[in-house]
């Protein structure tokens, strides 16, 4: 650690707190503005005025909105996100039962997608303009342009229904060994890779190409270096900043954006929890999830920036 990074961290943390506050206010106002409240949504068709009133009272919704927000905020400051409006269970428990799953899925996906994306991106940068490059770039676009739910359903049909190699659903409860983990995760990870690899790959390619055009690369070539060395030892360290940013952005999708994968594979993750929370107008739950996504996003982006600084001696030794 050095001063630059500490300073950056300090700034980021301060800013992050501000951002979190802003997000919570915005999310709160949105939930407040959305038609229907938790009581109405839970009763659904059965909502008679008196039932709604009773449920509201039970859920504590008869307190004015700003007061509820303040209560939630104070709770949050003490580390307690409060009770879910609809289920009256502690939000912390709800989140705790799902966040690890989401993190696990994100981690496994990252473990596969990042190396694949980087390798493809670097390879097509090295052979830019070649057939390999064209095919890789075009198929990346093709793969993202197939709707996620189609890829997922297709994968299930082939691997689970037809071949019966993999389970159709990813039950995290039953996982005891690494083999089971891989079997359960194979399809969700495959689908998520299809979604996020393309963007990372494109950005990596662009960043590496950008560096390959720098004069120092010509110098390296004139030292007799092989193309491999040129890219890995010289271009890549300088492209770390933009690549890390691209990776961070793509990975931030893995927490909040995987709702379709969670639904199709019945994976108990946090994205679904949040979407349910929105449908149910469960303010404390939605707020807490939003905070988590926001934090994850900020952490990722900051990590990317730190990578950028570490990779750049000019910034590192200031």
């Amino acid at each position: 650690m050095n001063r630059v990074i500490l300073k950056l961290l300090g700034q980021r943390i301060a800013l992050a707190l501000l951002s979190l506050l802003a997000v919570s206010v915005v999310v709160f106002s949105i939930t407040a503005v959305l038609p229907g409240d938790a009581a109405q949504e839970q009763l659904g068709q059965d909502a008679t005025p008196e039932a709604v009133a009773a449920l509201r009272a039970q859920m504590g919704l008869n307190v004015p909105a700003p007061e509820r927000y303040a209560k939630w905020l104070f709770g949050m400051l003490k580390g307690d996100p409060g009770l879910s409006a609809t289920t009256q269970m502690p939000v912390a428990d709800l989140v705790a039962s799902r966040l690890p799953n989401s993190l696990l899925l994100a981690a496994v996906t990252a473990l596969f997608s990042v190396p694949i994306a980087l390798t493809l991106g670097i390879a097509s940068a090295v052979w830019r303009g070649s057939w390999f490059d064209r095919i890789a770039s075009t198929s990346a676009v093709a793969v993202v342009s197939v709707p996620e739910f189609l890829v997922a359903t297709l994968a299930v049909l082939v691997f689970a229904v037809k071949l019966r190699w993999l389970p159709a659903l990813s039950f995290v409860n039953d996982i005891e060994s690494l083999g089971q983990l891989l079997r359960a995760f194979a399809m969700p990870v495959l689908v998520l890779c299809c979604v996020i690899v393309a963007q990372m790959m494109r950005m990596t390619r662009a960043a590496v190409i950008d560096q390959l055009e720098a004069p120092y690369i010509e110098m390296v070539r004139l030292k007799g270096a092989s193309p491999m060395r040129m890219v890995l030892a010289h271009a890549l360290p300088n492209a770390v900043g933009p690549i890390a940013n691209a990776v961070a952005l793509s990975l931030s999708y893995l927490l909040g954006g995987v709702i379709i994968v969670e639904t199709i594979f019945n994976y108990p993750g946090i994205a679904k929890l949040m979407v349910d929370g929105v449908s149910q107008r469960d303010m404390p739950l939605v707020q807490t999830c939003a905070m988590i996504f926001c934090c994850a996003y900020l952490i990722l982006v900051t990590t990317a920036d730190i990578f950028g600084i570490l990779a750049n001696p000019r910034l590192r030794h200031r």
């Binding site: 004139l222 030292k223 007799g224 360290p237 001696p313 030794h317």
Partner: protein, 547 residues
Amino acid sequence: MGASLTVQGLCICAGTSTLVDNLSFSVQPGEVLALIGESGSGKTTTALALMGHARDGCRISGGSVRIGDTDVLALDARAQRALRGRTVAYIAQSAAASFNPSRTIMDQVVEPTVIHGLCKRAEAEAKAVQLFRELALPDPQGIGARYPHQVSGGQLQRLMAAMALIGDPDLVILDEPTTALDVTTQIEVLRAFRRVVRERRATAVYVSHDLAVVAQMADHILVLRNGGMRELNATAQILAAPADDYTKSLLAAARPVVRTSAKAANDDPELLLEVRQLSAGYGPVDAQGRPAKPILENIDLKLYRGQAIGVIGESGSGKTTLARAVAGLLKPSHGCVLFHGRELKPTLQQRERDELRRIQIVFQMADTALNPSQTIERILARPLQFYKGLRGEPLRKRIRELLDLVKLPQTVAGRLPGGLSGGQKQRVNLARALAADPDLILCDEVTSALDTVVGAAVLDLMAELRRELGVSYLFISHDLHTVRAVCDEIVVMQHGKKLAQVARADYDRGPHHPYYELLARSVPELRCGWLDEMDRAATATATIATP
């Protein structure tokens, strides 16, 4: 020990145009050949071709290059890689751009030995340190651990030389290795190069547009123009009796003619610009209003209408910073700038459009100062439209005039800056400043990338404008020669302070500030053996000083 180099019928094309046309020459082992010619004449292109390399978009279309017994152009990619960095080494035009910013210097210096598997890492490092010592680099043990941005430009040039020499190459190619340096650094680097080349008896090709420098280094000179050879002869022969007309004009222009201003002689010149107690710097400002990184300190300066003041000083002495402060790009932390007797507001936003028009700045880096996506025509048209509201035919006419003024062909009007050579870009920059009809032009190194002939033409133009329109200049340069030729007064700067101010009448009368004297002494002279004399003088002083 050096290898012989034979080039026959070398042709290099880019698309449909020919960059280098049927070039043939040879160099004996251990000799130094200089490639000279104007900017854009194909020097770098030729030098790269000697290693079998052509830049993106260019193609070696014919001819042969033999180093010793190897036909470089006939080799496959792998064999060429084996050759580069080992048999042939290259020292690039801009050292700063040629080092990877994110790896340590040592990593990069020993890389040729790693790539070619010449010796163990530890051995290579020892050898590198030895080379650092030979090249008179400070802290030879520790400098390898630094990153490129942590050493100066002159040092980088020498480190680049170490990188080239570590593989004990038979042929070294030096591409304008000193253009970016100020004279005091240049002389040190030249010394180091020469010593190393001589001691190792390597064959060398030295690329430059500076005849005076070449005169110190080369055994033979090859004059290039438009990709074709004009003359190839021994150095002394060319300096004494050039055969080709172009060589003659190069030599003629190398001795700058003095261009005086008519108005300088006036009894009652109008005070145009006055800089009072100016301090400025970069970074956040503290409570006392002092910037975190102060650069300029208490600069005083007076400039009269029609006058040209030269600002010289080593790299990083704050020359550009001074220009930026005057132009309003940098808010002074102290002091003020008066223009036509009125105080100028510290920042651009506060200044009036007419004030902005009257002071124009020509940036040091010609490439970055031109928008790569605008044609030259649009670049020049904008100030005309912006300040004068010209349009239609008058606008086009004025653009043509401006291009003529800076000696650029009309055809460049439709091109993008990417299609111009460095010297041409610099002139476009100047033309843009002229388009505003300014009273004062802040010229930041406007001739540094130009060969003598074009450089002289630009200086003539500036003198003419000064005479006829009364334009004044703040002429920033590290080249004392040029400054002496065009300026009425010279301001010497070091470490952000004004050391001395010398009027034209006193140029040749001493005594001056020792730093000024050093600068004056360090400018290479256009004759063989100047550098040897300097060396001898230096050793003499050293021997005298030591006991």
